[in-house]
Assembly symmetry: C2
Homo-oligomer: 339 residues x 2
């Protein structure tokens, strides 16, 4: 551990940066490989679980705490009543301009009392920023949910997030580039910021997650492409041993998080895509283990709607209620905990 001069240390850092990009390439290859190998299994799984009532509602019910903590009893009720299909896909995996890290999370619903939509799909794009210390991560667009009258579980958050996003787009189209400064003076900006201020984060509906944009700020496909190019150029220079000038970091005074309806939306999406989705069978089996232990059963049909005040223990709905009896619907077989 001899003392080193600054030039030597700088050289080591350049070597580490080159290595980091090599690790990154391997990771992308592994994602592609994993996607290819798992695709036929996901297809088979979808066919099997289509025949199991409430499969995905039960998976959500038994999901890891990082997901479960965001699901309110009223959200569980919606899942139990009408969530029919669920799918995660890597929609940019073959797109040379996209990223294998981008993914979409798609919910298929039956006819229900809450919203008109039969499909709610939320896409997450893996993008890189030009400024901000080379930030990279997942960004998304607010998904419009067509809530039925008086049924909006987010008290207007998804609508307001969607409206602001549209207003920003229009502003950008009109002003072209010079738009950023004006965003915070949009009436839609103030409306959303106010709504977020008033909402209680602890009891916010999972459905507000459909309004998520970014844990930092929105990054367009164009900006991300430019950032990737600049990164590739720096990498080439590093490999040739040339000195690399870093892009200056623009300090932004704007508080992008003031209008983010679901601040940890990207983390939640990642856990859903990388843990809940691949391990769904495991979580489903957990539901039936809990079932066995507490002698309960699926009893959505028996559920008395009048009890619904948002405070009920929805677990009774999908398999963990203490006072439930056997029902003729989908009795979980005993002794199926092992593989």
């Amino acid at each position: 551990m001899a003392a080193q001069n600054p030039e030597e240390v700088l050289a080591r850092f350049e070597e580490l940066s080159v290595l980091e990009s090599e690790f990154d390439d391997v990771e992308l290859e592994i994602i592609r490989k994993s996607n290819a190998l798992n695709a036929p299994l996901y297809k088979k799984r979808a066919a099997v679980v289509a025949k199991i009532p409430h499969f995905w509602a039960l998976v959500f019910e038994q999901s890891p705490p990082e997901v479960d903590n965001f699901i309110q009893p009223s959200d569980s009720k919606v899942f139990a009543e009408c969530l029919e299909t669920f799918e995660v896909s890597r929609f940019e995996i073959d797109d040379p301009k996209g990223s294998p890290r981008s993914f979409s999370i798609k919910f298929g619903f039956g006819d229900n009392e809450y919203f008109e939509d039969r499909v709610l799909e939320k896409k997450f794009w893996f993008r890189k920023a030009l400024d901000g210390d080379g930030w990279q991560g997942l960004v998304s667009e607010p998904v419009k949910i067509s809530w039925k009258k008086g049924k909006d579980m987010t008290s207007g958050l998804t609508d307001a997030a969607y409206d602001l996003y549209q207003a920003k787009k229009n502003l950008a189209d009109a002003a072209n580039g010079d738009a950023k400064a004006k965003e915070s003076s949009l009436p839609e900006y103030r409306a959303l910021a106010k709504k977020i201020e008033l909402s209680e984060e602890a009891s916010i509906s999972f459905f507000a997650w459909f309004g998520f944009v970014s844990s930092w700020r929105w990054i367009s496909a164009e900006e991300s492409e430019q950032a990737s190019k600049a990164e590739a150029e720096r990498l080439e220079k590093r490999k040739r041993g040339e000195k690399v000038e870093e892009e200056p970091t623009e300090d932004s005074n704007e508080d992008f998080q003031e209008t983010e309806v679901f601040p940890q939306g990207d983390e939640l999406a990642t856990i859903i895509a990388e843990d809940m989705w691949p391990s769904a069978i495991k979580y489903f089996k957990h539901a039936h283990e809990a079932d066995d232990e507490e002698l309960s059963d699926l009893e959505v049909e028996d559920y008395d709607e009048d009890d619904s005040d948002g405070e009920i223990d929805i677990r009774g709905l999908v398999g963990k209620g203490r006072n439930s009896k056997d029902s003729s619907e989908s009795p979980p077989p005993k002794k199926q905990r092992k593989t």
Copy 2:
């Protein structure tokens, strides 16, 4: 979502169990592929970081909270003073009787005042239990640390864990099979249980982790092999559509956790192996970002030992101290936060 008869539901469960084992096979293939692709990069990385003083101490310092929470200021001090090499390897990856999920975590230390060992290696074997609802996971053996006189940071926990492990082995060799019932009457059992009872978990040294055995109970290679065989037989039956009898679950009244010195040792090891190890460069760079922001530097040499009372902010040691100045040793280059 039509009502189903129990036989149909049972058939779906059998299908899911077959699918689960197919997902498992894919996961193992991915681990092997990832290991092969990353191996040359880990080798390159080791060569680069060997030239960077305190690289691994800084990585531990900036590790995710799931690791960092277990590292006491006094542990950081040891890492900063004498941790020279660090390596994770999947030592059973080519062993048909082993598992690609098994791994070893190896620390290389310079001459130091705390222990005689220059290498401390902790191995984790991925094993399956015959009983206990098909439990599978990582088990380990206590590693003997040759503490110098008066320097045992675990107040005897690693020694007691090692002694009990040896005593159990001798007991098993002598009694052959009938040993389990007697384990809890071993003097080494009572000695360790007492030590654990007296230790304060909140301030337990990271080095106690070397004494970890299992989050459930010890499982031998033989038992795991037998369990894997039984599992494979059940799978074959399922594929042929035959009825599968599950193994009866033996309820054990013994509290294995009474003598576990580091109850979450397997989780900690997993995060070290699957996050900290592959992302070490990222965490190392974080250390230097913190550095930049607080105008501090590596200054282990400047550290005044007399201040050490176990309550100091060890971050000053390895790069985050607020009152530090530039030192000639390893000044972190500025503006290196981007890749």
